[in-house]
């Protein structure tokens, strides 16, 4: 059996579900020398020998990606995101268990490996935030638990708290973190941090792919600043010109995010912007922007 047999089984499942994505895994192998070993580890720990579960994860990824591409086509014509309130998104997505478990959560998890701008964001996280991960961290909007898991793997002495409004997200995150045997160092909190800001202050706070999901990101950044100890560090990301089912707030550039972070009391020490693909002419391309910050208050 090959060393990366689970990746190969996933690749086969993806080509079967969506022949137009047959090259996706092969392309991603070129992202980094250890890309395949990393992807193998997560797939084998989460799905093991269960081909049905692997095929469902592939199907979730296909639907999640196609949805994003279709919304992007519309965005190219109209220049704005579809109007949705936070409440509407919460009901249709975060509290919709079937959609969360079948499409959203497996979809997002797979994008961390199969979308170049997401994988590149992970490298930035490890490089700039990794050395500062000590003591305790809070992960706000844990989603799949991917970044909590990364933090717990990066430093085997840290402990983490994950906050999310979605029962499904917290369940999926717990599953991923337990699959890596980090369960005893991580606590899940079902909590809307905007309504009930946590009172604990952490030396490290991370929040990945949450800002653009809100109606009022500056209010959320104030909560994050309040959760970060003075002099502590935060890793915050924002999707730019990247419509998705639950994206509400349209960021067009890094400058706007930096301004909001500074207003909330963060100094931005480093940031990185990654493109989903090379643009043809001057079409808008989905981008991820990640910010490494220090709490200045």
């Amino acid at each position: 059996m090959s060393t990366y047999s689970t990746v190969e089984r996933f690749e086969k499942a993806l080509s079967k579900v969506a022949p137009y994505m047959a090259q996706t895994v092969q392309k991603s192998r070129g992202y980094a020398p250890d890309w395949e070993a990393e992807f193998e580890e997560v797939l084998s720990r989460l799905f093991g020998s269960d081909d049905q579960a692997l095929a469902e994860a592939a199907q979730g990824y296909v639907e999640f990606s196609l949805d994003a591409l279709r919304l992007h086509k519309r965005f190219e014509r109209e220049g704005v995101y579809l109007h949705k309130t936070y409440q509407e998104v919460a009901e249709a997505v975060y509290h919709n268990d079937a959609y969360m478990f079948e499409t959203y959560l497996p979809g997002i998890l797979m994008t961390q490996y199969l979308w170049i701008h997401h994988y590149s964001q992970l490298q930035f996280f490890r490089r700039v935030f990794g050395p500062h991960l000590t003591g305790r961290f809070a992960d706000v909007g844990v989603g799949t638990g991917f970044f909590s898991r990364q933090a717990l793997a990066h430093n085997r002495l840290v402990r983490g708290d994950g906050y999310d409004i979605s029962k499904a997200s917290l369940h999926y995150a717990r599953r991923q973190i337990d699959a890596f045997d980090f369960g005893d160092r991580w606590t899940a909190h079902k909590q809307d941090v905007l309504r009930t800001p946590p009172s604990e202050r952490y030396p490290c706070v991370l929040s990945v792919e949450v800002l653009e999901h809100l109606e009022d990101p500056p209010a959320f950044l104030e909560v994050l600043a309040g959760m970060t100890q003075p002099g502590g560090h935060a890793f915050v990301t924002a999707a730019l010109t990247a419509p998705e089912v639950d994206h509400i707030y349209l960021y067009r550039d890094c400058a706007e995010v930096i301004h909001q972070l500074q207003q909330a009391g963060f100094a931005v020490l480093a940031h990185q912007e990654d493109l989903a693909y090379a643009p043809k002419a001057d079409e808008p391309v989905p981008r991820s922007a990640a910010f490494f910050c220090r709490q200045e208050n």
Binding site: K16, V17, P19, Y20, A22, E63, L66, L69, R70, K73
Partner: protein, 79 residues
């Protein structure tokens, strides 16, 4: 699907894949057409929705594996 609709579908394929000689047939899959990746898949769906005045959900369009499946899906929408 009647003959006019079949001709329309052929035209859509030729435009999307930029190949005036392309002859879509039921068993054809993305593996048979060099540029049939996810971007062109979405372009194909958008063109089909426009040309046939139908609306397709992502679940529906993520599941067709060959042109035959697409024709079946369209038939179910057109009738």
């Amino acid at each position: 699907m009647d003959l006019d609709q079949q001709a329309k579908l052929t035209e859509v394929f030729r435009t999307v894949f930029n190949d005036p000689d392309l002859e879509p047939h039921e068993e054809m899959t993305a593996q048979d057409v060099p540029d049939w990746d996810s971007f062109n898949h979405v372009y194909l769906i958008t063109m089909i929705e426009e040309q046939f005045s139908v609306s397709l959900t992502t679940k529906e369009v993520s599941r067709f594996q060959n042109v035959g499946d697409l024709i079946q899906l369209l038939d179910s929408k057109l009738n």
